[in-house]
């Protein structure tokens, strides 16, 4: 019975890891190709949250019930805490310093 469970845990963690690496790649490509700063920050924050969640939960499953799993959970927690804060601070100070998003610039042309 246990041996069957291990296979399932292995498969689930492999799927999570694959999802995580795909998200990381999508975010990376998004950061390069997006036209404007605010859309780039959107792509970058995708890698911050989604990939961290998927990769670390995949690794926690692989690590089983051990000190390493606890450390991985702590890392995931802090990454999920600091990532969005840095993104928020970045976007907030960009907006405050008058860095116009591209859409706003286009609207002015339309009127």
């Amino acid at each position: 019975m246990i041996e069957w469970l291990l296979i399932v845990v292995d498969i689930v963690s492999w799927i999570l890891l694959i999802i995580g690496s795909i998200c990381v790649l999508i975010g990376g490509i998004g950061v390069l190709r997006m036209p404007d700063f605010y859309s780039r920050i959107h792509a970058a924050s995708l890698t911050d949250t989604m990939a961290t969640l998927a990769l670390f939960s995949g690794m926690i499953l692989q690590a089983g019930f051990s000190l390493a799993a606890a450390k991985l959970f702590a890392i995931m927690l802090f990454l999920l805490l600091t990532g969005p804060t840095a993104t928020y601070a970045l976007a907030n100070s960009a907006l405050l310093s008058g860095h116009k998003p591209k859409a706003a610039v286009l609207e002015k042309k339309v009127e």
């Binding site: 802090f78 600091t82 804060t85 840095a86 928020y88 601070a89 907030n92």
Partner: protein, 331 residues
């Protein structure tokens, strides 16, 4: 497997270095320097140097960027283009580079076990750290007890550099009103980083203490812990403003930390001499030499941690006080 990582990371390293030198805006090259130190830390980790990677992480991510930025705040951030002398410099650089690369051909290949480096002294430490010291981390053992005297010298170099910075930027301790620094209003109105910062600072200090006292069994030790705890206080002063940070850790306390740290290191050495052994030979501190060495190392690492943390904090506050007081004069 490590070769694939090494190739990838080292090429990125070279690209970042070229970008750093090429960019004329100093502000951009400081940000690329922080990427450079991130890459260096990953490289160290791939090359099996966990302790060094932790030091580069603790020092490079937090303190180097902050010190560079506070220096930039006091000077210009735009570099004036200067075309003279580029040709000769390029020739000289190209020549020396090809000479060095030619010289590397008779070096032993990366990771080759019978390279001369691994033959003479290293096996001694790898073999009997476990029974002489009783803990597995060979790097901490060599750093604090086999080579303790040299680490004492390093701590005094950090101490001297910190005193030098304080003299040059003439930040007198505790002179009170003259140096009441204008509250750094930069990030005050960012509410969310402040709240998260308030949550994060105790965890960073806790992690610093964990690294400090976990130095024997895993990557860690005094140098890394001092840098991490200093980064925690720097984060606090970035978010809460300069005065709150100075109220939390006044300048006299920072200098007290540096002095006590360096003194503690020296006192343990003198204590060993008093108890009959040589300077910094911890085995005389107690009957059982192994536990004596462990206690000596823990005290030494605590001294190193205090010295590095105090030094980094007083350097940061010396720069920050300078920038605030400067703009008052200028305006």
């Amino acid at each position: 497997m490590t070769i694939v990582f090494a190739i990838f990371l080292l090429t990125m390293l070279v690209i970042t270095a070229v970008a750093i030198v090429q960019s004329s805006n100093l502000f951009v090259s400081v940000m690329l320097t922080s990427i450079f130190s991130l890459l260096m830390s990953t490289n160290f980790f791939v090359l099996d140097a966990a302790d060094v990677a932790l030091t580069e992480a603790a020092v490079g991510a937090g303190i180097t960027t902050v010190i560079f930025l506070s220096a930039l705040a006091l000077t210009a951030t735009q570099e004036k283009p200067n075309r003279s002398g580029r040709g000769i410099a390029l020739i000289v650089v190209g020549l020396t580079a090809s000479l060095i690369i030619y010289a590397t051909f008779d070096k032993p290949r990366l990771g080759d076990p019978d390279a001369p480096v691994h033959q003479h002294v290293a096996p001694y430490y790898l073999d009997n750290t476990m029974e002489q010291m009783g803990f597995p981390n060979v790097v901490t053992a060599v750093l604090s007890s086999y080579r303790g005297y040299d680490t004492l010298g390093e701590v005094f170099v950090v101490f001297a550099a910190c005193i030098g910075v304080l003299f040059i930027l003439d930040a007198r301790t505790g002179t009170g009103p003259k140096y009441v620094t204008r509250k750094m209003t930069g990030l005050r109105h960012h509410l969310i980083p402040q709240v998260v910062g308030r949550i994060l600072v105790p965890f960073i200090v806790l992690f610093g203490l964990y690294v400090q006292f976990h130095g024997e069994y895993g990557p860690g030790g005094g140098f890394q812990a001092g840098a991490i705890i200093a980064t925690a206080f720097i984060l606090y002063s970035l978010l809460e403003g300069e005065q709150a940070a100075l109220r939390a850790v006044p300048r006299s306390a920072q200098l007290g930390l540096v002095i006590c740290g360096a003194l503690m290191f020296g006192m343990v050495g003198v204590l060993c001499m008093i108890m009959g052994g040589e300077f910094l030979d911890y085995s005389v501190l107690m009957e059982n030499p192994v536990t004596a060495r462990q206690i000596g190392i823990i005290v030494i690492e605590a001294g190193v941690g205090m010295a590095v943390c105090g030094a980094m904090l007083s350097i940061f506050h010396a720069f920050a006080a300078r920038s605030a007081e400067d703009t008052d004069e200028a305006v």
